[in-house]
Every structure is written in structure tokens, then in C-alpha cells.
Amino acid sequence: MFDVPMGLVLIPAILAPFIARLGEKTPWRMLVLFLLLSLASVLIVALSPFVRIFYFLFLLGATLVAAYAPLDGWWRSTLFGLTVLGVLGCVSSGDLFSFYIFLELSLLSSAILVHNRNPASTKAGLNYLMTSALGSILFLFGIALYYSSTGGLLAGGGPSLIAVALLLCGLALKSALFPFHAWAPVAYDESDPQTSALLSGLLSKLGFIGILKFLPLQTNILLVLGLATALYAAVVALREMNLKKILAYSSIGHMGYVAFALSFAAGAVPAVVHMFNHLIAAVLLFLAAGIFIAATGKRRIDELQGCCRNPLGVIFIIGLLAAAGIPPLSCFFSESMILKSAFDSGSVLAGFLMIAALLISACFYIKVVYFLAVKEPKDKIVAKVSNAQWAVLIALLLFVILAGIYPEPLVRAAETVVSTIR
């Protein structure tokens, strides 16, 4: 199963000590450069299709996030690189234990990224770390039981129910599925935009990478987890007024859709497409929201009122509408196809509940649109946007639009992924 040249995976990690030595100014540039190199090498080096596609996607996301703004201090770039390494390692690991190691790596380095800003973020970071540590213990315990019931750590075999349950708990915690979601809104809210984008765009997918690789799909527990997450996140977000927390709940809800999709036979392909689409939309939203929040120093949507009545705001609103699943933007397509897989397998009631969740979430999305874009601003908001930020956001925007209008290449990639998981 280890068909991946580890050198490739290790590029960002090898980078870390280099960055540390290079002093105060250049580490961030080095990080972006190395991420670009890795991205290019993914296309050249022989990899299994599953690994290649996920590498490409995650590296693309990570590169855009990193290119968006300089990461101050060498340690931030280092931790960023280590987090990406953890994510990539999870994708290519062939057995549960190496998956676990890379999962922990991404967790620890991202927790420090969250934690080191101000007292509130320290609290959020610790909260994230402690909760995830609990998840890790469950996961490790699950690994032990998995070993004892199948006699190995590779995928396949018939793991005992309790092992599956424990592994699922650990993975659900990483992906912030209800009722394991509590750490996420706080952590997303308190960290800087790039870390939030990394957490919501990349790290939230790791749970599903684990589920896809090691756990039985098409189970009712995934269906229930998915539905509960989607409904819960939509309802809670209705009352929330903090912009980044709303985005966090939106992200949690989307992970619910993915879990929901994985519980159906035909749902794996749309689920993978949805992971692609959500990665891009979440990165776009957190990065763009970060600009407004930095410009005004405010976080509540009623205080940020009218901040989206400018070209940057248009990009943000389009991203938001994409996340709301409104055609012709990216998430509409994958959401419709997820629902299609539910209807086709006869689960009309589940499909109906999911559509109800979509309707409720439309209400909170329109709330954000109303406050940020429809209402006039109270006082003039001047957001400074650098050229790099424009470039990153426009690239993301193009993806969001194209993936809704012409999703065929994504579907083809997702089909390849699904057929080569194990």
C-alpha cells in the first residue's frame, strides 16, 4: 500500500528546519515556493490516482492559503508546513497507525497555530487541543481493537463493531461532526484567517479521508451523524451573529452533507466532489471574511453591516451563495447529486430532512447577505487588499463558478478516487 515516494510527502517537512535557519524575512516565501514545487511534482511523480488527486487538491488549497498573506515569524511558516505535511501524510498512509501519526502531526501543529495570538485564542487553542486529544485517545484505542479483531492495521478485514465505533468517534471529532463539533466554532473564530481556512478547508476533510480509507461505508450511523450535523448546524447558525462562527457552522453543516452522502451506495462520488467544492468555498469565505474583520476590527455581522458593498464583497457574497448551495455555483451541484443518491436508494425521508436542513441554512445565509450586502454601511469601510490577495480570491472565485457550471472534470476525478480508495 505504500506506493508513495515519501520524499514528495516530506517536502514541506524538510522545509521546516530550513525555514527555521533562514531568519526573519524569507521563510514565508520559501514555504510558498516549496508548496508550489510540491504541487508541480504531484503532476509528474508516479502516484496512485487516489493520492495524486487528493494531494493536488490539498496542496492547491494550501498554496492559495499560504500565498494570500505573509505568515509572520519563521515558526508560523514552519507550523503551516508541518500541518500540510500531516494532511498529506494522512492521504497517503496505508495503515491505521501511520494515519494516526500524521493525524496527530496536523493536529498539534494546527493547534499551536490557533493558540498563539491572544488570550482568547490561547483558550480556544487549548480547547481544540484537549478535545482532539480525547479524540486521539479514542482513536488509538480503536486502533488497538482493530488490530485485535482483524489481526492487522491495513484496510479491509472485518473489524469489530466497537473498534469501528471508536475509530469513528475519533474521526468525527476531527471533522467536527455533531455531537463532536463543540471545539470548532471557537477555534475557527479565534484564529487568524489563514489558520481558519486551513482548519475548515483542509483539516476538516481528514476525518472523511480516514472513513473512506479504513471504515465501512454505507452505514446508518453515518446517515444519522450527517443528518444531525446538518440540521443542528443550520439551526444554531440561525441565532449566531458572529461572522466567523456562522462560517464555522456552515462548514460543520457541509461536513454533515458529506457524512450523509457516504451512507449511500452511489453517494461516495458526490461526497468527494462536495469535499472538493467545500474546500474551495470555505477557503474563499474565511480568507475574504478575514479582510473585513481586519479592516474594521469587528466580528458581528450587525457591526460589519454593509461591508460587502464593494468588489471584494461581491466575491465574498458569491462564495457565500455557493456555500448555500444556490445554482449555478459549485456546491449546488454536489448537494443535488448527494440528494439524488439518497432518493435513488429509496431514502425519501432522509432526503426530505436534508432538504429541510438546506432550507433552514438558506435562512441563515440570507441573514448574512442581508446584513453584509443588502443594508447600507453605517460608516465607510476601507478594506486594504493586496495584489496577492486579489489573485488568490479571484482564482478561488473562478473555481466556485466553473465547478457549478461545468463539474464534469471534478466528477471524473472523484470517480477515479472512489474506484482506487483501497
Binding site: P327, K340, I355, V374, K375
Partner: protein
Amino acid sequence: MIWLVLLVPIIAAVLAPFARGKAGILAFLALLFSFLFILPMYPAKALTESAPWVPQFGLSISFRVDWLSYPLTLLIALVSALAALYSMDYMKDREDQPLYYACLLLFAAGMMGVTLSSDMILFYLFWEVMVLSSFFLISEWGNQDAKQASVKYFIYMRASALALLFGILWVHAATGSFELSPGLAGLTLLGFLPFLLAFCIKLAIFPFHNWLPDAYSAAPAPVSAMLGGLMVNMGAYGLLRFSGMFAGIGTLSVYIALFAVITILYGAFMALRQDSLKRLWAWSSVSQTGYLLFGFAALGGIGLTGTALQMITHGATKALLFLVAGAVVYAAGTDEISKLGSLGGRMPKVAVLAFIGGLSLAGIPLFAVFQSEWMIFAGGLQFPALDALAMLAALLTLAYVLLNLQKVFMKVNETMENAKLKEVPWKMMLAMAVLAIVVLLLGIYPSPIMLR
């Protein structure tokens, strides 16, 4: 080549923000192109074309021009082009005009996409393009009430769209295909209910009518003309298009007719009480959507032909009336009926156009709506009591039209007599005149667009 009808306005919408002052002309020309392009596609039999979109999920980009979609698409292209022409003067002093025209173009393209699509997911896609662009048209360029109205509009429309999606997926699960084909038939009635819900919300049938008066009256006049003249038909179009797939709708028809008549009467009574021209036409639209549904309830025969024709005749008429209301606002600065008066002498051309529209709406022979309304009544004879009520409501329509037009154009009002009125520019006059000619022509000779 049907896709060019949609592609040209969409490309124009992308270009419009860069066209600055020329955006209005760009929008007008793009929509005129669509109109002229669709005109010669007169369908002796249905024209279809199809290309794979996402074959893995059985989705295709497929379009159809047939008896139902041809006249409606033509009307959409025409009225949208005229709305763009009208906006060049009407919206002259407003901010962000290039964006306005971009939204207007997308709105028109969305509606034409809805009428032309013959893939259900494509239908849903264009449906939401239409809703989203009209949402921004209302919220950004409407009056002071528009911001709240637009949110209400959005939530109702989202509910409608998700019901539609539910229905589409249900049909797909039953048939294994996303094709919106008229040949398919015999699905169980249960699957029709989500479509009925979706399209009744869209039509603003009582008790789902609440969003319509606010949204229509808050929008700027050319947008109201597109909402009230074009988008109002989308629900009826959807019903006509999708209902063919299901068996046994007949058991529902009397209930459908009942709600239709309630809507007709309720809308007409509310219209009588309005003191703003645009709110008057908005409530009148609620009432008229009832007629569309009432004709549909006859399920086939002359009633259905009537609904198909009423979409066109009422669409042109109501678009004309909203544009007239806009001209009154433009000239006199208000559309409050109690503050208006004496306009007949001051702006005689607009008055003539208003009466052409008003008499047509009231169903007077020789004007367009009469040609379709009698068919709806004829089809409705299977529910005699309801039919009688619907005819009674036609009297109410005549009452609210004549009372209000009399107040605005004939009643002597000292302040208006001496007020300084703005001259209505020729582009606005031209847009209204073209619609008035359409209304008169359809009133005399509607058969070219009756293809059923």
C-alpha cells in the same frame, strides 16, 4: 443553436460591468438578438437539441422549443429588451448601472433558460439564476421597503426551489432519467405534490401570496414589469410542463380550482383597496395568477389552451401597466393614487397607453386578455359555482382598473394641474408603445402564438 439565445445575454451580463455607460445599450442589443434569434424557430413540431453535461449522473444540456415554450420565450426576450430600453432613461440617475444591467440580463437569461430547458436539473439551475438575479434587482435598486421585501422574497423562493428539487429527485428516482420529456407519463400523484407546492408558491397562490405584493411594488418599474409580466408565468409554465408526467391529477383539480378562485377574489378585493399604482398592479397580479391556475385546473381542453395564452396576453398587459406606473412616477414623482389626478390632460399619450393596458386587464373584447380569459372560463365550466365566482371577479377587475385609472388620469386635481411634470422620454414611450401594439394585435389576432 438554441443555446445561443441564452449564451448571448449571459456573455453580455459578464461584459456589462466593464461597459460602464454603454451597459444599457449592450443589454438591449443582447436581448433583441435573443428575440430575433428565437423568432424564426416557429415550431411546426418540437425542436430539441442535447449535449452531455455530466454523463456520469445522466445530466445533459438539452433545450426544447415547442408550442409551450416558443411564445413564452419570445415574450420574455421582447419584454426584457423593452425593460432594458426603458431603464436607459428611467434608471439614469441611479448608482451602479452596469451591475443593474448585468442582473437584468441574467434575470432574462434565467427565465428563458427555464422555458427552454428540457433537463430537470438544468431547469432547476436556471430557475435559481432567475430567482437570485431578481433578488438583487429588488434589494439593490428598489425603493425604501425593498430590502425587507427582498429577504422575504428570497426565503419564499428558496422554499419553492427546494420543493422543486425534491420533486425532481423523486421523479428521477422513479424513472431513472432527468429528461423533462412530455412523452413520459403515469407517475403516481404523490410525486406531483412537491411540484404543485413549488409552483403555487411561485405563482403566489393563496396562502403563499404574501411575498408578491411587497416584492413587485418595491422593485423599480422596469423590473416590476419583468416580474409581473414574465416571472409570474413561470409557475404556470412549470405546472403545464411537469403535470403531463403524472397520472390522476384529476382528483386534485377541484381543490386546485378552489384555491385558484380564492386567490382571484382575494387579490381583486385587495387591489380595490390599494392607494399606490404599483401596489395595485401587484395585487392585481396575485388575482391574475389565480386565473392562470384556474385554467390549469381544467386539465386539458380549452382551459389549458387558455392558460397557455393567458401567460402571453396577461404578461404583455401587466408589463405595459407596470411601465405606465413607472412613467407616472417618473413624471409626477409619486404613484400614490390619492395624490395624483388630471394626468390625462397633461400626459395624453401615457393615458392612452394606460387605458389600453387597463381595458385589456379587465378582459374587454378587442384587447388581449379577453382572448384568453374566455377560454379559461369555458374550461372552468366543469366547476360551475367556482366558474361563476371567477367571472364575478372579472367585474371586480374592471372596477379596480377603471376606478383607479379614472382617479389618476381624469379626476381633476389642482396640485397636479399646476405641477411641473417631467417629460417622459422617447425611449420609455417607445417601450410602452411596442407593448401596447402587442396587446392590441393579440386582442384581434392571437392565433399565431396559439400553437396547441
